[in-house]
Structure formats: structure tokens, C-alpha cells
């Protein structure tokens, strides 16, 4: 088995294009707010040439939010890409499998109990990984492929949503507004204290997923037997990759709340445009970042204090419906 990462020109071009588009939207977002700043001035300020007011507004107030959005988008897309690759299914994203709901339910419990933000992050991570293990336990006996596994996720999501609903009725009004906002997924008031830990997690996990797991995952897509014949330690690779991916997704949820469907859409788009097999990790991440930043920009311009998760949820639901129809036409479900 070759351990070399294959560099595909098409994937590189698409990844770079997505990053470029994301930067453009990010610059627009940085200029948006009660104090509008022209895009040219934003670029100048980022390069360290702006005046004092602009520097303060951009570097202190707006940049942390945008950076968090970018990192969350990348993390969700990376997790989603690995999940979809392992389940060999474009619908096998952590949102549908209930990983995000697990993180949400655990974090909500902490919000209601009035815990600190560190406790909230830890709870979200524990909840996400716990749900992943549980799904594996319930569905794993006969492998992780196929729609049965996805349906188990749907069932888990339903149970967890019930629990979340109950938790919501337990809190008092103030905490509920906070909890609902967290649950919808929002970048309001997110700053370096959310962004930096997530950046750390990404720096550690992405090389593991891309370099260590990537080639094996690509072979795993040809079927367990073929992969095993090519020398891939199927079980260990799958469990390990699943665990790392769950960690990444749960950390993203801990930073910004469950931002719905980025993990579903980004890898799907990446796969369609790069036309490459395997998890398409890096292009997915670029597209995920573009999606989140763009959704955040849309949410800010809706004329209504809309959290970003609602925008991605609506878009993602529509995309999912379309995906189901096209999957059906292709005869895959």
C-alpha cells in the first residue's frame, strides 16, 4: 500500500479557488456592521496600515468572529468528509448520525445547570464522542455501511432532540435564550478563547486524518475485503478515523454550537467538483470555510438577528431534499 499522498491538480485549483472566495467574503464580513468599512480599507487594516479606529474595530471586534467561523467551517467539513468516506454514503454526515445532537444535548445540560464555558466545551466533546461510540455499538455489528446505519443515527437524533426539548423547559427564561442561541449555532460574541483551542485541535488532528488515514480511507471505499487485501488494517483504521473525526466535529460544536449541515454539504460539493475518490479532506475544508463564512454574512444581512446555524440549516435541508431526489434517480437508495 502506498503511503504517499496523491496531489491532484484539479483538487488544488478548487481548494485554492474556494479559499480565495472565502477570503473575499471574509473581507466583506469584516467591513460589515454598525460602522461600515470599505473592502479596500479592510485589506489595508489587515496589512497593518489602517487608522486607530479601524484597527480596533477590525482586529479586536470583528476578526475573532470571522476566524472562528472559518475554523468551525473547516473542522465540520473535515469531520463530515471522513464520516462520509467511512460510511460510503453522501448522507452519512455527523448531523444526520446524531453526533452533533449528542454534543448539543450535553452542552445544553451544562448551560441549564449554569456551568462555565470550559465545562460546556468539555460536555459537548464528551457528548459528541459518546454518541459516536453508541451508534457504533448499536449498528457496528454488521459494519457501518448502508442506510441501516443512517437510520440508527436518525433514531438517535430523535431521542436526543426529545432530551434537549426537555432540558429547554427546565431552564429559566434568560438561560433559555442563551441555550436556544447556542443550539442554533451562532458566531455572535465568539472570540479568540473559542478560536484558539479549535485551531490547536485542527493542527493536531488534520495531519492525522490527511496523512495517516487518508490513503487507507481511499482504499476502504473500494470495500472492506479489497482494502484488507491491500494491507489496510480495516477495523483499526475505521474506528480510529471515526473517533478522531468525532472529536473534531464535537470541538467545532463546542466552539459555536451545532452549525447544521456544513458537515453534510461541504464534502458533498468537494467530491462533486474535484471528482476524486477518498475523503477529499483539504478541498472539503476550504469549501466548508467558504460555506460558513458566507452563511454568517447572509445571517448578518438578513435584517433580523439570525444565527448562522439557522441559515445553514435551511440551506442544508433544501440541499438534502435535492440530494435524496438525485440519489433516487441514480437508483442508489
Amino acid at each position: 500500500m502506498s503511503k504517499v499522498m496523491v496531489i491532484r491538480p484539479r483538487a488544488v485549483v478548487i481548494g485554492a479557488g474556494a479559499l480565495l472566495a472565502m477570503t473575499a467574503v471574509a473581507v466583506l464580513t469584516l467591513g460589515t456592521g454598525d460602522f461600515p468599512i470599505a473592502p479596500a480599507d479592510v485589506v489595508k487594516t489587515l496589512a497593518g496600515q489602517g487608522n486607530a479606529a479601524q484597527t480596533f474595530i477590525i482586529n479586536e471586534l470583528r476578526l475573532p468572529r470571522v476566524v472562528t467561523a472559518i475554523l468551525v467551517g473547516m473542522a465540520l467539513a473535515a469531520g463530515g468528509a471522513v464520516f462520509q468516506s467511512i460510511t460510503r454514503n453522501p448522507l452519512g454526515s455527523p448531523d444526520i448520525l446524531g453526533i452533533t445532537s449528542g454534543a448539543g444535548a450535553a452542552a445544553l445540560a451544562v448551560v441549564i445547570l449554569g456551568g462555565s464555558s470550559t465545562a460546556l466545551s468539555l460536555a459537548a466533546i464528551t457528548g459528541g464522542i459518546g454518541t459516536a461510540l453508541l451508534i457504533q455499538l448499536i449498528g457496528g455489528r454488521r459494519g457501518l455501511q448502508g442506510y441501516r446505519f443512517i437510520l440508527i443515527g436518525v433514531g438517535m437524533t430523535a431521542i436526543l432532540n426529545g432530551i434537549m426539548g426537555w432540558l429547554l423547559t427546565k431552564g429559566v427564561q434568560m438561560e433559555n435564550a442563551r441555550a436556544l442561541l447556542w443550539l442554533a449555532g451562532s458566531f455572535d460574541g465568539r472570540g479568540w478563547e473559542e478560536a484558539l483551542p479549535l485551531l490547536g485541535v485542527l493542527i493536531v488532528t488534520i495531519p492525522i486524518l490527511a496523512v495517516v488515514c487518508g490513503p487507507g480511507l481511499r482504499m476502504l471505499e473500494m470495500g472492506d475485503d479489497v482494502a484488507a487485501g491491500l494491507g489496510v488494517p480495516v477495523k483499526r483504521l475505521r474506528n480510529g478515523a471515526l473517533l478522531v473525526a468525532s472529536l473534531v466535529v464535537a470541538c467545532a460544536a463546542a466552539a459555536a454550537g451545532p452549525v447544521n449541515f456544513v458537515a453534510l454539504i461541504a464534502p458533498n460539493i468537494a467530491r462533486r467538483v474535484t471528482r476524486a475518490p477518498g475523503p477529499n479532506l483539504l478541498p472539503s475544508m476550504a469549501i466548508g470555510a467558504l460555506l460558513t463564512v458566507a452563511a454568517d454574512w447572509l445571517a448578518m444581512h438578513s435584517g433580523y438577528p439570525l444565527p448562522v446555524g439557522v441559515v445553514t440549516g435551511g440551506l442544508g435541508g433544501a440541499y438534502l431534499v435535492w440530494l435524496l431526489i438525485s440519489e433516487r434517480k441514480a437508483g442508489r437508495i
Binding site: L91, L151, T169
Partner: protein
Amino acid sequence: MLVLGIGFGARFLSPGEVWSGLTDPGSQYYRIVHEMRLPRTLLGLLVGLALGLAGAIMQALTRNPLADPGLLGINAGASAAVATSAAFFGVATFSGYVWFALGGAAAVTALVYAVGGGRAATPARLALAGAALNAALYSYVSAVLLGNTASIQKVRFWTVGSLASADFDTLRRLTPFVAAGLVIALLAARPLNALSLGDDAARALGARPGLIRALVIVAVTLLCGSATAACGPIIFVGLLIPHLVRPFTGPDLRWMLPYTAVLAPVLLVGSDVLGRVLGSPGELQVGVVTAVLGGPLFLYLVRVAK
């Protein structure tokens, strides 16, 4: 179960006390029973009946053991419509809600059926189409709620699925909708049996597949829409009961529907009682209890299915 439903609460009443509360206006329990416990229990009955029947006829129509009005997003459609009416049009009463809820339920029923592939729908397709619509609709609901902090408080309990807001007025208005749905469902039982043999066989037996599908969709809309308007989205009742009933009655809907109509309310009122016992001195909303009870059954069904 009825007696239990009336008896349990912040103040426990024994069956004897329940009886005296029901019949004797002079009894000290008369007010508790008549003003609080009785409407709640009756509402549970009606809603359970509605959701159970809706689940049973949907499972028959789609030939799909996983069909459930909650899982397929129909209740979410009704919720989205109700949230819209509460936030933007200031509707606050059941008789206002119910029309919006019916519209939402009808739209989603048609949509999920179309996305799921109509006649060619498989269990997995329908469940996934439902999951997609659920996600989109609930994020819409939370968007609407977040825009109106005042309505969070008002609709908060409603979005979980709770019987707590029961009163006789709601009951009186809910009854005609459920009754109409019940009648249509019972009328459709025979032709639905024929339809389960496939369209061609059904036609040979004198049934009209198009008409039956339309009738069933109308019945599901009436049942789910009105039940959701009354107490919010309650999941898994429509899934659970037909599965519990089928081993005893066989697949014949003419037997299944009456049994469902008896057992589903028992489950709902039972879940409500359980929620009140477990959650005392407050309560665990009935929607939460059914989700936690029904979820594992769903997982089991998926696990044993091929």
C-alpha cells in the same frame, strides 16, 4: 389508565377519591378532577388516538414499518406553521392555530411523499426525506422563536409536546377534527387492505388507488395537524402502537385500527402519567417521554430489519 391519569399529580388521589371527584360535586376533589386532571386526560386520549391512527394508516399506505408522523416531519410542518402564526400574526388560541397547523401538515405530507418517491418509496427513503424536512423545519422554527423572545416563553412548552395547556375549550374544538379523521381512516381501512396487495390487485378488487391515497393523506393531515395544534409535536406514538398491535391482530387494518384507537391513547396518557411521576413535583413533557420510549424501539426495528 384513565383513573391513573386523573389520580396522579402534584396531589395524589386514590382511585376511590377519583371516582368521588368525578361524580360527587360536593367532594373536595371535584375541582382538582374536573378543572385540571380531567381535561388533560381527555386531551391525552384524543391526541393519542389521532397520532396512533395516523401512524397506522401511514404505515399501511407507504407499506413502511418506519412511518411515523413525527419522524416523517409532518408534526414539524404543523409546528412550523404554528410558530409562524404565533410570531407574525399574533395568533394565540387553539382555534387560530389549528388552521395553520392543518396547512403545514398537509404541505409536508405531500412533500415528504413526493420526495420519498411516491409509490416507489422505500422505508429508508421516506425516513430520510422526513429527516431532511425535520431539520429544515426545526431550524426555521428556532429562527422564528429567536426573533421573538416573548414567543419563546409562550411556545417553549408547546414545541416539546405537552398536555399541560389542556382545557375543555381546546377539547371541544379538537374533537370534530379528530372525529373526521377517525371516520375517514376507518372508511379507508378496507380499501387500504386491498392496496397492500399492490395497485393492480387493488384495482381488480374494486378499489381506486388514487382516491384512497388522497383520502389517507387527508385523514393524516386532519389527525396530525389538529393533534399538533393542541399539544405540540409528539413523536413515535404513531410508530410504536401499530407495531405493538400487529402481532395480536395481524395485518388486517379493520382489526388493527380499532385496537390502535384503544391502545394509542393508553400509551399517551400513560406516558403523561409517567412524565408527571418521574418529573414530580413538576412534569416531564409527554413528548419527551414518548421520544425516549419510542426511540429505542425505532433503533431495534432498524437493527433487526434487513
